[in-house]
Structure formats: structure tokens, C-alpha cells
């Protein structure tokens, strides 16, 4: 059996696949962040908490109302998205004219409140969520749980659909135009504030969708968002703030890098993304896919 840099190829392929699976979560979360930043210029620090709310909403729907996973996949993004819309209308929309920092502080504060409320209600250990697709396939080099395979395929589809909608449809072109010249777009009869509200709701819905996807893999825990959000921000920064394609590509790519780090030097697996971020920012300050402003 030949070995590749000290590791059997079968193990290496297995780890790469796992990296891609984690990358799917990074991609879908950073996509939501990128959409919100790209169109609203808001750094949405509540994203991790909204992801956590998605997981909890799925858990509550299952345990309190018997709503199964597949229905939650549709219902939860809508429900949590609506809370996002309410937040945007009530608070966020009032500070668009202020500096970025204010929206950052507002969303960060909301994240702390949400996490605190869920923690005092449910404890920090989390709640179990049953796996809707138990079992798995033996690929020869690794055992691939069915559910994880589903996560990769589904996330990829969602990411591509979002990219297509924003970059290739008329609605997307309105959105992009509205971020450049809201006054002009408004003059053409487009209701820009409503579009901005819906965009925020959509970004939040993406976070909630990732939460539903994560629930069967991780515990449904109040901490799940804060554990992930810093990494996701790094992904967005590396990809280029606001770049849709950048978020998707770096999401999957960094999942892969992290997976490989877990094989060669596991102790560094939590920090490797930040090392890459530092290097990228030194070379390309606007991120890999970002355009300098």
C-alpha cells in the first residue's frame, strides 16, 4: 500500500470529502452574509444566532407540533426569515444612514440577547434531533452517511440557485442596481425599501436553512452559532466581502483545507482558516473575489 505524504490515499480522500461537507455549511452561511452585505452594506453579526434559531425552530416544530424534517426544511427558513424582516423593519432600517459600525453593534447585540435567551431556556448542552436519513454508503475508502451526502448536494443546489438569481435574473439586476443607485431605481417605480427588507429576510432564511441542515449532525445548541460565525466571517473576508461567487467557492475550499489540516496537524484545525485569512489580506486586501472600492 503506497502512502501519500505519510497518509494512506483512502484516508486522504475520505478527509477531503468530509472537508467538502463542512464546506457546504460554510458556503451556505457565508452566502447569506455576502448577500446581506453586498446589497445592504450591513455586517450581519446576528447570522450565527439566526442559524441557531433555525436549528431550534426545526427542533421545536418536531417536538411540539410533530412537523417532520422535510417540512421544516421549507417552513423554518420562512418563519425565521420573517423574524429577520421584523428586525430589519423595526430597528435595522433606522440606522442605514449611519456608519457601518452601528449596524455591526446592533446585530452583535441582538446575537448576544438571542443566545442568552436560548441558553437560559435550554441549557448549553443542546437537544438531540433525529437523523432523517440514517444509514450510509460504503465508498471503499470511507463510510459516507446518507445524510451528509444529502447536505452537500442540497447546499450546492441552494448556492447555485442563489447565485443564478442574483447574477442572472431581472430581479437580481434590480437588486444590484438598487445597491449602486437606490434613488435612480426608485425613480423607475421600484419599491427599494421593500426590496431591501426582503433581501435581509432572504439572507436570514439562508442562515436558518443551514441551521435545519445542521440540526441532525450537531446538537441543537444555543452555542452552535457563535462557534461557527467567526469562521464564517473569515470565509466571507477571504472570498471578498459581498462577493456571491467568492462566498460559495471559498466556503467549500476552506472546508477542504480545514479537513486536510485535521489529518496532518489536527491541533491547528481551528486556526488554519485565520492564518489563510491573514495571508490573503496581505496579498489581496479586497479578498480573493472582491473588487477594491
Amino acid at each position: 500500500m503506497f502512502e501519500l505524504i505519510g497518509v494512506a490515499p483512502s484516508v486522504l480522500f475520505g478527509q477531503m470529502l468530509l472537508g467538502l461537507i463542512n464546506g457546504a455549511f460554510y458556503a451556505i452561511l457565508s452566502l447569506g452574509l455576502a448577500v446581506i452585505f453586498g446589497l445592504l452594506n450591513v455586517i450581519n453579526f446576528t447570522h450565527g444566532a439566526q442559524y441557531m434559531m433555525g436549528a431550534f425552530a426545526a427542533w421545536m416544530l418536531l417536538n411540539l407540533a410533530g412537523v417532520p424534517y422535510w417540512a421544516a426544511l421549507v417552513a423554518v427558513p420562512v418563519l425565521v426569515g420573517l423574524t429577520g424582516i421584523a428586525f430589519e423593519r423595526l430597528l435595522l432600517s433606522r440606522i442605514y444612514h449611519l456608519d457601518h459600525l452601528y449596524s455591526l453593534l446592533l446585530t452583535f447585540g441582538l446575537a448576544l440577547i438571542l443566545e442568552g435567551v436560548f441558553r437560559s431556556q435550554f441549557g448549553s448542552g443542546g437537544q438531540p434531533y433525529p437523523n432523517p436519513l440514517p444509514g450510509g454508503q460504503n465508498l471503499g475508502f470511507m463510510f459516507l452517511p446518507n445524510y451528509r451526502a444529502w447536505v452537500v448536494v442540497f447546499s450546492l443546489a441552494v448556492c447555485l440557485a442563489t447565485w443564478f438569481m442574483i447574477e442572472r435574473t431581472k430581479l437580481g439586476s434590480y437588486l444590484r442596481a438598487a445597491t449602486e443607485r437606490p434613488d435612480l431605481v426608485q425613480a423607475f417605480g421600484v419599491n427599494v425599501p421593500r426590496m431591501v427588507t426582503l433581501t435581509y429576510g432572504f439572507g436570514v432564511g439562508l442562515a436558518a436553512l443551514a441551521g435545519v441542515l445542521a440540526a441532525p449532525i450537531y446538537q441543537v445548541s444555543p452555542l452552535m452559532g457563535s462557534n461557527l460565525i467567526i469562521v464564517v466571517f473569515a470565509v466571507v473576508v477571504i472570498g471578498g466581502m459581498g462577493s456571491i461567487l467568492g462566498a460559495i467557492v471559498t466556503g467549500f475550499g476552506l472546508g477542504l483545507v480545514e479537513g486536510l489540516t485535521k489529518v496532518f496537524y489536527p491541533e491547528a484545525s481551528n486556526t488554519v482558516i485565520f492564518v489563510i485569512m491573514a495571508i490573503v489580506l496581505l496579498i489581496k486586501p479586497a479578498g480573493l473575489f472582491g473588487t477594491p472600492k
Binding site: A8, S124, P145, R148, Q219, M224, V263, P266, T271
Partner: protein, 404 residues
């Protein structure tokens, strides 16, 4: 009548004064320092604060002329944060005793500061056996459990039932290293072998890479030298990847009842591990758990929280016997001199190296069918008698043990 009451009050106050005068600041101040918000918050957190208060209430300090207060803080699992709080408590706030402190890195730091300031540290939450080994201190008592005890109970039981080859998934900090080291020694001493190990950062979400490496090693047993949320995610994902179905066994070297609750019996069933206390062993334990659950949203107490109760009780007894809390080392010496006896841990003792001695229990998690209701999770597999449960005094390398 009023004059009589006044007189009585004055006499009572005078009677109480000598005792109060010997307490630093006139009050015994207990600081509960633990994880209030992250992965160890369920098994320690506010529950430990409640346990400390309950211990004080049951002790009845007012009748004995003592005044006791409780403060608490979140160390965020960071040794620097924990050290700062400990220093501030000792220097500025007049805290006399720090209890709990899960997370061995923080505990080792607090251990050092307590010694410098000559106060008292009763550790219930952290596991590293170094606290009574090379880092032992005349000001510290390690109360509930430690890595040596866990390793020798769970490790030995697993090797003896055929788990001869091991692969470790270890949390990459003081606690994980100590647990891995102590368990490895037991595995090797009992004729087993260790095929490999992987170390993961604290608070990792995804364990699939590590589990896959463990699976690839072909080891019969995957030893989880981690705790709290890390163990929960490891166990959950091991089930997902068909590890146990594939013939490998998981050995959770440290689990708490709150972890089993989070996982649910469906995923946790069959796991075997060691604890120092379980709420459903005696009537006193059950009564304590009932009161705890009523005050803590239905949660049941972990061994760490029970240890806080037991430790604070013994501390108060020692301070009352000594008549002073000013000299931390003297209080700890008194605690070592007096036999321990409380309703949760029963009779026991504190050894010269600061190790509290009592029985440990090997539990197995029930199947959903066996469980009769909420929080009915464990069946007792074996009791490890106090004499065998902890590392022999002379083997820890504690200078206090060799001197006495």
C-alpha cells in the same frame, strides 16, 4: 416586653461577636468560579451556585453566629480570565474560598494563585490529577473525581471486557492530556495497546475527521478523552458514521448526566463510564435532586454540582471548628484532619495531598426501554471502593505527601 427583646438581641449579638471577629471582614465569602455560558455550563454553571447556597442553608450559619455570602463569575474557559477573577476576588472582594472551576487549565492557574494568597480552593469541576500530584498545594482540595480515578475505573473495566487496542480522541489542553496519559498507563498495564491518538481543539463542532482516523486505525476501542459538548458531539457523530455498528466501541472517559440528557438515550445507550455521584442512588440524593430540579428548570444535578455542595459543607464545618477563615492553609489542614460526612457523599476523608477520598461508580447508560422516566439514565455496573478509587498517595509525586 420590648426591652426584653432588645436585651436578648444585644446578648445574642455579643455572643456572636467573638466568632465574627475572627472571620476576615466578618464574613465568610465563597466564590463559585466556573463556566456559566459555554460547553461546561450545564454540569457546573448556575447549578453549582445553587449547590453552594444550598450547602450554606443546610449548614445553618446564622445559628452558629457565622455570616456566609456567595459570589459567582464566568471564567469562559480561559486561564487568564479565571486568574484575573481569582486575584480580584482575593485582593479586593475579600473572597475566602473558591469552589468548582471546571476546566483543568483554569483550575491549575487558580490553584497557583490561591496558594500565593493563602486562601482556599476546593475543586469539584476540573479533572486533571496533577492538582493532587505535581501541582498539589496546601491550600487546595480536589473534591469530586480526577483523571486517574476515571482511567482506572473505566479503562480497566473496558480492557478487561476485551477492549485491548485503543485509539484516543483527546481534547488538546491540560485536562485531555492528563486523561489520555492516565488512561494509556492503565491500558498498557493491563496488557492492552494504544494504536494512535489525535488531539482536537477545545469546542470543536465536527468530529467526523477524527472519528474517521480512529475508524481507520482498526482499534477495538475509541477512547474519548474530552468532556461536555465535545463528548456529546463525538458520541453523536460516531453513531452517524456507523462506528459502533462496525464493531468498534466508544469509551467515554468522562461523561456527566447532563451530557446523557443532551444526547438522548437513543444515542447514548450502552455507554459505560465512571462518576463519583448519581442523583438516584440514595433517598438523600433523590431529595437533593428534587430540590435542585425545582430551582433549575427541571435539570438534575451532576456530580460536579453535588461535589460543590459537599465541599462547601465540609469547608464550613472546618471554619466553624477553627473559629477563623483567615489562614487558608490552616483551614485546609483542619479539613484534612476532620473526617468528611455529608448527605450526598457520605463518610470519607481528605488525604495529605488534598485528594478527597470516596467511592466511585461505574455506570452504564440504560436503553430507552429500560428507562422509567425523565432523568432515569444509569444502571450501576460496579462500585469502586474508596481505597482503590484514587491514585495511591505515594505515586502522585506530591511534595506534601512525602513530607508527612
Amino acid at each position: 416586653m420590648r426591652r426584653k427583646t432588645c436585651l436578648l438581641a444585644t446578648v445574642a449579638a455579643l455572643a456572636a461577636t467573638p466568632a465574627l471577629a475572627d472571620m476576615s471582614d466578618g464574613v465568610i465569602k465563597i466564590g463559585v468560579l466556573n463556566d456559566q455560558s459555554a460547553l461546561y455550563a450545564d454540569m457546573s454553571g448556575q447549578g453549582s451556585v445553587w449547590a453552594a447556597r444550598k450547602a450554606i442553608e443546610d449548614f445553618g450559619p446564622t445559628a452558629k453566629g457565622l455570616k456566609v455570602e456567595v459570589v459567582f463569575a464566568d471564567h469562559q474557559n480561559k486561564p487568564d480570565v479565571g486568574s484575573n477573577i481569582a486575584r480580584q476576588w482575593f485582593d479586593r472582594d475579600g473572597v475566602d474560598l473558591i469552589v468548582d472551576v471546571p476546566n483543568s487549565s483554569v483550575a491549575l492557574a487558580v490553584n497557583q494563585i490561591t496558594r500565593e494568597k493563602n486562601k482556599v480552593f476546593i475543586n469539584s469541576g476540573a479533572a486533571s490529577s496533577d492538582l493532587t500530584g505535581k501541582a498539589c498545594s496546601p491550600n487546595t482540595i480536589h473534591w469530586t473525581y480526577d483523571t486517574w480515578g476515571l482511567a482506572n475505573s473505566t479503562g480497566k473495566a473496558v480492557v478487561k471486557t476485551g477492549g485491548s487496542s485503543w485509539y484516543f480522541i483527546t481534547a488538546d489542553y491540560a485536562f485531555g492530556h492528563a486523561l489520555e496519559r492516565d488512561t494509556e498507563a492503565v491500558v498498557l498495564a493491563n496488557g492492552g495497546k494504544v494504536l494512535g491518538k489525535v488531539r482536537h481543539p477545545l469546542q470543536t463542532q465536527d468530529f467526523s475527521s477524527f472519528l474517521l482516523q480512529a475508524q481507520g486505525s482498526g482499534a477495538k476501542v475509541i477512547g474519548l478523552a474530552n468532556a461536555g459538548g465535545d463528548t456529546i458531539n463525538s458520541v453523536k457523530q460516531a453513531a452517524e458514521f456507523g462506528i459502533t455498528a462496525g464493531g468498534q466501541n466508544l469509551a467515554a472517559l468522562l461523561m456527566f448526566v447532563t451530557d446523557v440528557h443532551s444526547l438522548g438515550l437513543k444515542t447514548a445507550q450502552g455507554l459505560v463510564f465512571t462518576e463519583a455521584w448519581y442523583w438516584d442512588l440514595t433517598d438523600d440524593d433523590r431529595a437533593f435532586a428534587k430540590a435542585f430540579a425545582e430551582a433549575n428548570g427541571g435539570m438534575h444535578p451532576s456530580m460536579v454540582q453535588a461535589g460543590v455542595y459537599s465541599g462547601v459543607t465540609h469547608y464550613l464545618k472546618a471554619v466553624a471548628a477553627l473559629g477563623s477563615d483567615a489562614d487558608g492553609a490552616a483551614v485546609v489542614a483542619k479539613m484534612k484532619e476532620l473526617p468528611t460526612d455529608d448527605k450526598l457523599f457520605g463518610k470519607g476523608s481528605v488525604r495529605a495531598d488534598g485528594r478527597k477520598i470516596h467511592d466511585l461508580y461505574l455506570f452504564e447508560v440504560k436503553t430507552p426501554a429500560e428507562s422509567k422516566g425523565a432523568w432515569d439514565y444509569y444502571k450501576l455496573r460496579a462500585t469502586i471502593p474508596a481505597a482503590e478509587a484514587f491514585r495511591p498517595l505515594e505515586q502522585g509525586g506530591c511534595p506534601l505527601a512525602t513530607r508527612s
